[in-house]
């Protein structure tokens, strides 16, 4: 049996944004420009504020696009804000956005980056002062 290493990423968050069909691309673009490395978009059907808007509700598309973006926790506020503004989510019926912390994530990490990370971890451990017995 071969041994395999599982390198996981921590301190990551998932931003989910639900908008009307056809409006996802500018939000994905804004997320990417703000530092997100990737995004996934899929279709759904939604209800909610459309029914509450009365006659004005006809202007709101029933079909939705859901955007998922995984980002580092230290970038999440900035990317969240950029996505919110790009999607004009302060307008009723435009959609909504939320973020949730992830426990861990995994993907392909090029060997060169892994090596660099291992070196950094080793040097940090060596530099850490050790407690001496009194």
């Amino acid at each position: 049996m071969s041994r395999r290493n599982l390198t996981v990423l921590t301190e990551v968050s998932l931003i989910t944004c639900i908008v009307q069909r056809g409006l996802a691309d500018p939000i994905v673009k804004a997320a990417r420009e703000a530092g997100a490395q990737g995004a996934t978009v899929y279709f759904a059907r939604g209800t909610g504020v459309r029914e509450r808007l009365g006659v004005l509700g006809v202007a709101v598309e029933v079909e939705k696009e859901i955007i998922n973006v995984v980002v580092a926790s230290d970038q999440v506020d900035y990317i969240f804000e950029k996505m919110f503004l790009a999607g004009k989510l302060d307008t009723p019926g435009m959609g909504f956005i939320y973020c949730a912390p992830l426990e861990k994530a995994a993907t392909y990490i090029p060997p060169a980056i892994l090596e660099k990370l291992q070196k950094k971890t080793t040097s940090t451990a060596e530099a850490r002062p050790t407690k001496k017995a009194a």
């Binding site: 996934t40 992830l102 994530a105 392909y108 090029p110």
Partner: protein, 105 residues
Amino acid sequence: MRASAQKCIVLITEPGRGTPLIEKLFAHGLTMLDLHHARGSAIGGPIDRKGVPVVLEQEIVTCVVAEQKADEVFALIHELGKVDQPGGGFMYMQDLARGTQMSIG
């Protein structure tokens, strides 16, 4: 972080990989599985002339597991989905506030 009895594991992978993976996971006794399609781009994916990542079809496999088995299933999906290889996709695990667990037999 608050811990609950269920975890949700999500794998975003290339088209055609989802169904065989679900069959393998089912054979391992996992029943709370779902597959859907999406479009998306990721790190290391193809880029167009302007340097913008090309958006391609993706398959998303979602699996809900008990907390005790979550790390084991995460490693299993990582292995079966070949996530540690280029083009293997991206996976993550999320804590759930509540969830159901179905078992047969």
